[in-house]
Amino acid sequence: MTVKKLIEKIEGEAELDFSLKNGSVEDVTINFGFYRGIEEIMISKAPRDALVITPRVCGICNHAHLMAAVQAIEHGYAGTGISVELTDKAKAIRDFTLACELIQNHVKWFYLTILPQLEHLTKEESKENHALKASYLSTTITKALAIFAGQWPHSSYAVPGGVTCDPTYVDVMQAQALVDETVRFFEQVMTGISFDAYEQIDSVAQMHEIKGDIGRLLYLLGHYDMAKRGQSHDRFMVLGETTGFVQGKSIATTIANVDVRYVEEQPQSGTTAKAVTYKKRQYEVGPLARAMVAKDPLIRSMHKRYKDSLLTRIFARMHEVAYLLRICQTLLKGLDLRQDSCTLEGHLLASDFEGIGMVEAARGSLIHKTVVKERCIENYEIIVPTQWNLSHGTQSEKGIAVEAMVGSQSMDEASFIFRAFDVCSVCTTQ
């Protein structure tokens, strides 16, 4: 029996076609609807217009698109012999603002998607206004981002050679205060323990110390026997290289290097989303992948007991919030404002080039490729994280999310497993 279900509030919608047998999920087809054509819109535009147009792929991870777009141009410049050497200051500011966007995303996902959906699923509704928490945290941390980037969403402040802003220590102090406020929120609302105490937790055995809303999440998943559900191929990929993240792939716990030349896109029938593989195989991207490749002790410990399950996947995203907050503090503390913000001239420096930019967006590795001829974009390609996680799969193996959903006892449970990937419909249908 096949049943269609429209999944909403995932940055747009997706349609899941469930094949059911005796009530359990045997297979799922994931379909995304309307294609907007950003890649086509880019053709024949000026190369740097990508810094304005491509963030509009996505309202929630627009900053990551900006970073991938600027890196693609810089990579292209470097290929023509132009020296592209960013100052530590420019690099730190870029990494800081990107980290802020990830924190914003993860916390919103937790309070607007995961906690309410889990409460519906387990019929353990609380009277809490989760959305208020999401909005407060998002407002706070994107304000820190906007000090440097001018605004969020849809900043275009990263330009070839650095950033457009020229902050003062007054600005830096305001950003530090906003990060500290976010840390306080993490302590008092999300975990119920001090940040230092949280960072000491490095194994499953100590996780009972986590209280607050994340503690409630752990309780609900454990109590309703969902901790080991949603396992997939146990293969992970990280392509972006920003402060704190390590490039590489991990098959279970074995780490190896990666080469972007093996990344391939294929069209799929019945959906506007293209599938992505690495050497023809499926890989999961996102916070769980980043923690596995970076050998994070706590996530490794969870993986040992629960594998790449729903629990590990959801917790890895929340754990990354703490990890990024610490990085934010370090980056701001280390800023030396005497250095230049931008080291390249303001005009377009090469008329013909090809470049590739890879960053870690909230949902995983994001790739932009630009081909420029006679000062105009000839071809533009964007590969988004959701394409990795939500493809239909190949002849020999199911896609990452499909594999995770198969075997679910109900469509509601499968839908929850689907949402645990932090699905972004608009990115997928760029």
Partner: protein
């Protein structure tokens, strides 16, 4: 709507990136604003109604917020044309707010199919055939994305039963009666025609080389700051003209010039007046405007 009932607010998305929804979620008074309405459907916030119910066109709707650009046919959700749903609610609503440049003028996504895709009541600066029918309830809020405070202002004006002064394109005059240039931290440099020496400097004006459209773009970005703290031009990024009907223009990081003078003049300023003022300003060399504001190593 009875005298006591709160107006029903319905948020409908068409061809969009969700940026307007996320921008509004960053309004610090979000829930106090929403407390004046009955939120019937929203693409991110829970309302107790499903998208299937919303698409059926049967929910109550007094205030309709539209996000994203529209095409006559070809954008179907759950088998239903989204434009048809929008029209059903537009018919019921007392106020229609086009939130963002896509819903207002067509925006970026229009460029994929310029003949088929437009805003709800405008196609760039031209009125669409729908305009006539909905003009009396239309409020245009262009911006890519919308500024959260701009939408908050409109919603509270509606909640308080106040009349919103609008311009000929139905934009609130309190928000769009000025340009992005108003309140810019680089105004002194504009006055004395001192351009910036490159990106990444707090000194100098971005109008002459870096493509800044602030002097001829309507919007209050530098009066009501973004995220309550900054703006593009404060952060050294040129204004990209994102509130204008023709957004996005091309070669956005370069100023198009005619005989060394920016091609597009500040809003309403005759070229001759601009040239005269520029000639006078440029005949002086003001030392303070040639120097860095802060020298850390001194």
């Amino acid at each position: 709507m009875s005298a006591k009932a709160k107006p029903a607010l319905l948020w409908l998305q068409s061809i969009t990136c969700n940026g307007n929804s996320h921008s509004f979620l960053n309004h610090p008074d979000l829930f106090s604003i929403l407390s004046h309405f009955e939120l019937v459907y929203h693409p991110i916030l829970e309302t107790g109604q499903t998208i299937e119910k919303m698409l059926a066109g049967t929910l109550p709707c007094d205030v309709l917020v539209l996000e994203g650009s529209f095409r006559q046919k070809g954008l179907r959700k759950n088998g239903v044309e989204v434009l048809e749903v929008a029209l059903q609610y537009a018919h019921k609503a007392e106020h229609i707010i086009t939130a963002g440049t896509c819903a207002t003028f067509g925006g970026i996504f229009k460029q994929k199919a310029p003949d088929a895709i437009s805003g709800f009541c405008f196609d760039e600066a031209e009125q669409t055939p729908r305009y006539r029918q909905y003009a009396d309830k239309l409020i245009s809020l262009p911006g890519c994305p919308i500024h959260p405070k701009w939408l908050g202002y409109v919603l509270m004006m509606i909640a308080d039963g106040r009349q919103i002064p609008l311009d000929e394109m139905h934009r609130p005059q309190e928000l769009y009666g000025i340009t992005v240039h108003t309140g810019c931290s680089r105004n002194e440099y504009f006055e004395w025609k001192v351009d910036t020496k490159g990106f990444g400097l707090k000194e100098g004006c971005l109008f002459y080389e870096q493509g800044c459209q602030g002097p001829y773009t309507r919007g209050s970005c530098n009066r009501i700051l973004w995220n309550d703290i900054s703006s593009k031009t404060i952060a050294g990024t040129p204004c990209l003209g994102c509130t204008e009907p023709d957004f996005p223009r091309t070669t956005l990081f370069e100023t198009k010039t005619r005989m060394g003078i920016p091609e597009t003049m500040p809003l309403g300023v005759p070229r001759r007046a601009y040239l005269t003022a520029t000639g006078i300003a440029k005949s002086f060399k003001i030392k303070r405007f040639e120097e860095r504001i802060i020298t850390y190593d001194r």
